[in-house]
């Protein structure tokens, strides 16, 4: 995902002279090519997130399209108030890019996990929140972020995420979920790096005779209420999948739509149960700790489906 990101930003920088990339001293082995090709539009601001976001705001006031890249918790929470005042209050089109969504950084520990970032970015007026589900969505996100009038937060993992959309030229627009598979009775709505897990969970449910709908809800804000309504017409059980606290993320966004529109659907939220990782562990291990393993989610859904 990081490679898809930098490739897309590099292409943009080739096309447009106003594209800048700032990093908070993160992105070793990822950003070097950009630095070499665009030395006047690449700045390693150092370990100074508040200064970095403020600088991005100043550049944006001067008409620049600025991508701000660092590890997700530091991009969103260390400098939260700069994001709020300098970017959101001023409606500046700065793209905040957080690396290491959820528990991507595994054994590094919870300082490096981003489990609150979607929540804290969602509550900011005017902030768009995008968690691309695969490298193709990532590339589209970068390309289309340029036309946003206000700030956005782009959440990405690290490297090696699988390509989920098999064909290029996916039908992608910010704020519109993508239906990967149409289904009935049960829908899996995933964001970010849980999209591959949703696909695997859907495959497991298929083996049990179900026909799940699979949706990539890459944009958590604004949430695609229309698609949720449509899906609820086919699926009485909606499951949300996110590597994020169960409070404040995709599940709550979808749940809000279900309640507000009075949709006839039951919601099952998969996410991190309001806790920091209690032990060291790799991403897969921690996912299991939080009930985010494919087997665990499949079992839970089968249980709910059997209640009907």
């Amino acid at each position: 995902m990081r490679r898809a990101f930098i490739k897309a930003v590099t292409r943009l920088a080739e096309e447009r002279e106003d594209v800048y990339l700032l990093t908070g001293d993160a992105g070793f082995t990822i950003l070097e090519d950009f630095r070499a090709r665009f030395p006047d539009r690449y700045y390693n601001i150092g370990i100074a997130e508040a200064a970095m976001v403020g600088t991005a705001a100043g550049l944006a006031l001067a008409g620049k399209q600025v991508f701000v890249y660092t590890i997700a918790p530091f991009a969103t929470m260390r400098c939260f108030e700069q994001v709020r005042v300098d970017l959101c209050y001023q409606k500046l089109p700065v793209k905040l890019v957080g690396v290491g969504q959820g528990v991507t950084y595994g054994s590094a520990g919870a300082t490096h996990h981003a489990i609150e970032d979607i929540g804290v970015m969602r509550v900011l007026p005017g902030m768009t929140v995008i968690c691309p589900g695969d490298p193709r969505e990532m590339a589209e996100t970068v390309r289309r972020s340029i036309s946003l009038e206000g700030p956005c937060y782009i959440r990405l993992g690290k490297s090696g995420e699988p390509v989920i959309h098999q064909k290029e030229g996916i039908d992608f627009s910010i704020g519109r979920g993508i239906v990967l598979e149409r289904g009935e009775r049960v829908a899996l709505i995933a964001t970010g790096n849980m999209l591959p897990e949703a696909v695997k969970t859907a495959a497991a449910l298929k083996k049990k005779g179900f026909q799940p709908e699979v949706i990539s809800m890459h944009t958590v804000k604004p949430i695609d209420a229309e698609l949720i309504e449509e899906t609820a017409g086919r699926c009485a059980l909606i499951a949300t999948l996110e590597e994020h606290n169960l409070i404040g993320g995709l599940g709550d966004a979808v749940g809000g739509v279900i309640l507000e529109k009075n949709l006839p659907a039951r919601l099952v939220k998969f996410g991190i149960p309001d806790a920091y990782a209690a032990t060291a562990g790799c991403q897969d291990y921690l996912r299991e700790c939080f009930g985010l393993g494919v087997g665990q989610m499949t079992e839970k859904l089968l249980g709910v489906l059997s209640e009907d």
Binding site: Y43, A50, T55, G58, K64
Partner: protein
């Protein structure tokens, strides 16, 4: 009138606006404190042919709580009608207690949370350099404000980027929310701190127009380095019973004092 007489007349006009405006709201003292700095900047130092000119010098009021002084200056500069000032803090109007970018001609940046303006100034100054533009960026901060860590993150950055088109001004009135600044976080080493961070530093009397002009005329103080002017000021300057009182951070102008204070400002040279 010679040049400094005109400036004195301008700052009197701004201060009188402030007395009338501050029948509402707080931060009267904070605004009076910077009236001379703004006068010199907007009427002599900065090049702003019009608020929308792409090559204009940029001004960032980082100590956003003195917004009224910015509004009064911009109105005196005729960027908008002076009658607009009567709507300061009124319901449904755009004269907020802390400035909002583009709410009025000449208001460049939203501020109010301290410690933000300098980094925004760095971004603007960096864009000017890269775009080959000659505009300069002026950022006015409070002396309490520079207790914010983000100021020092940015101080390091501006030095490294060699932004000699960035000029910070510290309104050093030595008063903040609870007490004298020096009793809360000692600031006696302003000069040494900024110099240690690579900046060129000058200290001036922030109410002496000639001294301010002279200092602004010499920036950058060090070749290739950002500059900071430590302007020694008096909170509430212009109204004797408010001068040097930290309460002037909070108090509104009492309705029955307005005429007396206007007269006092007029009578002062």
């Amino acid at each position: 009138m010679d040049s400094t007489d005109q400036l004195r007349e301008t700052s009197r006009r701004i201060r009188k606006h402030l007395v009338r405006m501050h029948r509402r709201g707080s931060h009267f003292g904070s605004a009076m404190s910077i009236a001379d700095i703004l006068t010199v900047l907007f009427f002599r130092v900065m090049n702003i042919p019009s608020p929308g000119d792409p090559d204009r010098d940029r001004f960032i009021l980082s100590k956003g709580h003195a917004a009224s002084a910015l509004y009064a200056t911009l109105a005196t500069k005729k960027f908008f009608d002076e009658s607009v000032l009567e709507r300061y803090l009124h319901d449904g109007e755009c004269l907020y207690g802390h400035p909002v970018a583009k709410s009025l001609p000449g208001v460049e940046v939203s501020s109010g949370s301290l410690g933000h303006g300098l980094a925004i100034g760095v971004g603007l100054a960096l864009a000017a350099k890269n775009d080959g533009k000659s505009y300069r960026v002026f950022v006015l901060m409070g002396d309490g404000e520079i207790q914010e860590g983000s100021v020092w993150e940015t101080a390091i950055l501006a030095d490294r980027l060699r932004l000699d088109n960035l000029i910070a001004i510290i309104d050093a009135n030595n008063l903040q929310g609870f007490d004298r600044v020096e009793n809360i976080q000692p600031i006696s080493t302003f000069r040494r701190k900024w110099e240690a961070f690579g900046w060129g530093v000058e200290e001036v009397d922030g109410h002496d127009h000639a001294a301010l002009l002279e200092a602004f005329g010499r920036v950058p103080f060090r070749p290739g380095a950002p500059s900071v002017i430590v302007a020694r000021t008096v909170k509430g300057k212009g109204v004797a019973e408010m001068e040097g009182r930290f309460e002037s951070h909070y108090l509104s102008v009492p309705a029955d004092r307005v005429e007396d204070w206007l007269r006092e400002i007029d009578e002062k040279s």
